[in-house]
Symmetry: none
């Protein structure tokens, strides 16, 4: 509990949370500056001089967050305390709002030999188009009485498997043997409602194998990570905020929806996002999450220069965001993706919080090392939301 | 839980943890520098410029750790959550690997008068040689049927009392009345297996008193802190690390053994330790704990200059350690021992973590105040191991 619920007011200033995906970086071996420090960011630096600075640690020291947990942490939820299965993350990643009463699992198309042993757990990694065709065919031809079963195609061999029915449980084992040369495991439920789910999955799989038997690419499927939608109290309930999400990629829209934000059309670029912020404010949203994916993509590629460019692009868009009518502006990342590591890392991410209640350092800039000396210090992810509520004059004093 | 077990990989880089005992200090009244800041440490300062810096807080604010708890905290165990008695610490301090089925207690030789009242709880602090002689005599002459009883001599009046037998409990009260002029308390067990232990202790004490009756130095003994070996999952189980301990003093070897490290011959000086690190790496150890006792000894003596010298000696040995084949190098203390206090203190200790994934500050040095501005911030002791695993590329990402 980072903020007692009774302190949260129903009104206050408007908050914009700008997540530059994978923002945090490490020094370039040639010049010793991080991507953010090396970038030419006059607007961010000017804003830093009139903002509170600090760092956000998304998970305990040393733990590297995936994108889902990183965002959940920023949104006020301790990811280590929230049990959610692979199936849920897949559904979110497919921009699918899993509802109570639904079960999701991660699916793989695969191949099995004449003895029922798994040959290739990924069916030779078919094209996305092939995956879409296979999903459509199975949905068309396979049904189980009294149940709706959807297959949402993903990349290559991957799909999300979603069933809708009454009284289903998710305590069902994966049938994936994890290695080739073994048979798929039978589905078993750990309790009566999960036995129902296991029986449905078993019947569906038998029918799907018959349907796929004529296919060359894949003749069976593996399901894992059966999950329901966890109970996550929404932004309205928890923070009294009417929240919008301006994110292009399905995963981020899905995570935002999970915490009760309304995903909105964000267009394709940063200029579209500036317009989308203005339109959300016009519709009385008082919390707007803006997601900028490019720094992370460049970091994963190990392309230091491209990550600098992605950060500079945000800097150029910043004046537009500043004029859009937001009162509190937070700029941070969901994790670090140092180009020198080519992957996510555990390093805390820089944080800038601008409001008329900020305590700036003199002559500061926005960068990893500058943020070390900021007013905010290093806070845990779930501590960010109460801080933003405070800057937005949305928290009562605790005690008389 | 600072790190979910499923994230820990089975391979990765090699880690060296260098504990400079009692490293942290306070400013000298004449010049305002701490021992570490006053020391001439070109190698540590150079390494600091390419490392992450921070501080470790071994226990909650204000709490001063003993050497055992300080090391346990660094080794990933919250000492406040681990129940272990004085007897265990004494056994560890005697380099005795207490095993399941054994009970250890801290013993004092003492004097009692004709009425059975304790005169001197420490028997006039006899010489270590006298203590060894008394222990040997009691072990020679006193026995209890079906039980093995060992006395391991310590400094002055102190010894460790260890019994080995089936089905013993450790819930036995101290017989030490804590003040002179009172009688020793009878041993009582809180449960049936502890009643057995109490009965053995009672029988042993009666016989020991008869044996010691002819001695001038001491004619009885006090036992306290009855304890068994607590269950502590080892480094292999918890962190998938094959860990070696290079420590000279028995206490540190004992604590390292408790957490599953293999104590190895560390020689007498720092140059021997450099050679011992290389030999441990040659034998495929992937975690090496190196203990340097001298700063603490000087701190206890209140000898600021000697503590500076002890730190400078480590600095001179550092290049050897850097070339020994370790990938991740952490340098810190198990607690502060400021010379101006002449004892342990609660102040967080400086921390340096060197790896190719570090985020250094520019122009930094290794000192209490410099570490305040480091990338790592101030972390709790049990958070250190996950951080080192991350630097060693030994942790999976949490979530997709």
């Amino acid at each position: 509990m980072t903020c007692p619920a009774h302190l949260i007011r129903t009104g206050g200033d408007r908050i914009g949370l700008f997540v530059l995906d994978g923002l945090g970086g490490l020094p370039h071996p040639d010049h010793g500056k991080t991507e953010l420090e090396a970038a030419t960011t006059p607007n961010l630096d000017e804003l830093a001089g009139r903002s509170s600075l600090g760092r956000v640690q998304l998970l305990p020291p040393g733990l590297t967050p995936g994108s889902g947990p990183g965002h959940l942490s920023l949104f006020g939820i301790d990811p280590l305390q929230l049990e959610f299965g692979r199936g849920l993350l897949e559904a979110l990643g497919s921009d699918y709002a899993l509802e109570p009463g639904q079960i999701a699992a991660r699916g793989n198309f695969c191949t099995v030999d004449g003895n029922g042993l798994v040959q290739d757990r990924r069916a030779g990694r078919p094209s996305d188009a092939e995956c879409r065709r296979l999903c459509a065919r199975v949905m068309e031809e396979v049904s189980v009485d009294g149940v709706t079963i959807e297959l949402i195609p993903g990349k290559q061999h991957r799909f999300t498997w979603i069933i809708t029915a009454q009284d289903l449980g998710a305590k069902v084992n994966d049938n994936d043997p994890q290695v080739s040369g073994k048979g798929a495991l039978p589905f078993r439920g750990q309790d009566p409602v999960s036995e129902t789910t296991a029986a449905i999955a078993t019947e569906w799989l038998e029918k799907a194998k018959q349907c796929l038997g004529e296919e060359e690419v894949a003749n069976s499927a593996l399901l894992r990570g059966f999950s329901t939608k966890p109970h996550v109290p929404g932004f309205a309930e928890r923070f009294h905020l009417h929240a919008a999400a301006l994110a292009v990629y399905p995963m981020y829209r899905g995570v935002a929806r999970l915490v009760g934000m309304q995903p909105r059309d964000a267009g394709a670029g940063l200029e579209d996002q500036v317009a989308a912020v203005k339109s959300a404010i016009a519709e009385d949203y008082d919390f707007i999450f803006v997601h900028h994916k490019d720094p992370d993509t460049a970091g994963h590629s190990g392309d230091f220069a491209a990550k600098v460019v992605a950060i500079e692009a945000f800097d150029r868009a910043l004046p537009g965001f500043l004029e859009s009518g937001l009162d509190v502006i937070a700029i941070t990342g969901d994790h670090s993706t140092p180009a020198v590591m080519k992957e996510h890392s555990w390093h805390p991410v820089p944080l800038l919080v601008h409001s008329k209640r900020a305590l700036p350092n003199l002559e500061s800039t926005f960068g990893e090392r500058a943020c070390l000396h900021g007013d905010i210090g290093t806070i845990r992810g779930p501590e960010l939301m109460p801080l933003l509520l405070a800057h937005a004059d949305r928290l009562d004093k605790f005690g008389a």
